[in-house]
């Protein structure tokens, strides 16, 4: 079978190298082009989302702007770009918990969450979380009270979601910089609380 892997299949590393060399030989891959993309990737980090969350926790006017237009509110802090053309922040409350998935591929708000981790892209997470969110979250370490409603957001079009977690009670009086340190990517995807 030629369309799947067998013992004659080249490794992904060898295939990538061959594709790169083939494009370069045709003059279709300028020197430094790949490196420039990788430099850009390094700027897409969950710390960006943590900045947005911490600011929303400490600045009521910013929080209001975040729910009116998350794309603009993230851009205020310098977080914008591909896979962030239209972002929406989802507010967790004591009654409602939000969790984000992309069941058909692995769409993610790159500017605020970074490129997604392997578990988010796994067939296991993509297949299961929409149908059995409570068992999946429990398995991942988050057991929600049964009275908390769960909304699973499937990223099937071009909106890119991220969760605004509830601020932990023990952080009263903390500065925005201190708060950034407690915000995790898992909480902004909705598979953890803080």
């Amino acid at each position: 079978m030629s369309s799947q892997q067998n013992k004659n299949t080249a490794s992904p590393a060898a295939r990538t190298h061959a594709l790169e060399e083939s494009l370069r030989a045709k003059g279709l891959l300028p020197e430094g082009a790949i490196e420039s993309v990788l430099e850009q990737v390094a700027h897409w980090r969950p710390q960006n989302g943590a900045h947005v969350v911490a600011k929303a926790w400490t600045d009521p006017a910013y929080r209001k702007r975040l729910f009116e237009d998350a794309t603009a509110a993230c851009a205020e802090l310098g977080y914008e770009g591909p896979q962030g053309e239209y972002m929406v922040a989802l507010e967790n409350t004591p009654e409602l918990h939000n969790v984000v998935v992309c069941t058909q591929c692995s769409c993610t708000a790159w500017p605020v969450l970074g490129l997604p981790p392997d578990w988010y892209k796994s067939p296991e997470y993509r297949a299961r979380v929409a149908r059995e969110p409570r068992p999946v979250l429990k398995e991942m370490g988050l057991e929600l009270p049964t009275q908390v409603k769960i909304r699973v957001w499937d990223t099937t079009a071009e909106t890119r979601y991220f969760v605004l977690p509830m601020r932990p009670a023990h952080t009263e009086g903390w500065s925005e910089l201190q708060l950034r340190e407690v915000v995790t990517r898992e909480a902004m995807i909705g598979v953890a609380v803080l």
């Binding site: 892997q5 299949t9 992904p12 061959a18 594709l19 891959l29 058909q104 049964t146 099937t156």
Partner: protein, 210 residues
Amino acid sequence: MDGIHDLGGMAGFGKIEREQEEPVFHQAWQGRAFAINVLSIAVFEHYNTDAYRHAIERMNPRHYLQACYYERVLTGVATLLVEKGIVARQELQEGAGGEFPLASSAVANDEMPAPEPSAPFFQTGDTVFVKNVSVPGHTRVPRYCRGKTGTVLHVAPAFTFPDHNAHGRSYRKEPTYHVEFEAGNLWPEAGSRGESVVVDLWQSYLEPRK
């Protein structure tokens, strides 16, 4: 297409494995394959994002499930560059020193009508029905919500209609909607246990319901 990529609600998958302190790329080739795809879409415009998603969907399901995410990216990029005549499969296989699996050919959605004019037809709070359509090419309607009734939570901006864009047929935009479905309406075992799924759907996928 009713492909392996449309995983939502599929049974039998096991535990979700999480790695602590996970790097963005585990191996250098993964970053390079990702970068070649970004450049092919955004800089060289060899193809668009919808065509790219569809190329991955066209992978042999056995290969799709075995491949890591970046091997799927690599296979999608290479498939499109070969299909467009930019590189030849033969030269890729010679360069790689072995077989270079690609995805199967695309079949366009000929029966899908052109999108309606882009003014939003639905409003927040409207009840909508998802057309129960199965197309041979690219679409972004998950199987699990076809033929189901939901409620519009939010009217999102207009975006290029993927069912056409993936096949190079039309770049027209139309509104998208965040549509909420109660879990009991999607999954027979769910009952009314306080869960819902919100799916982001293009206007052409929807019909009004009173």
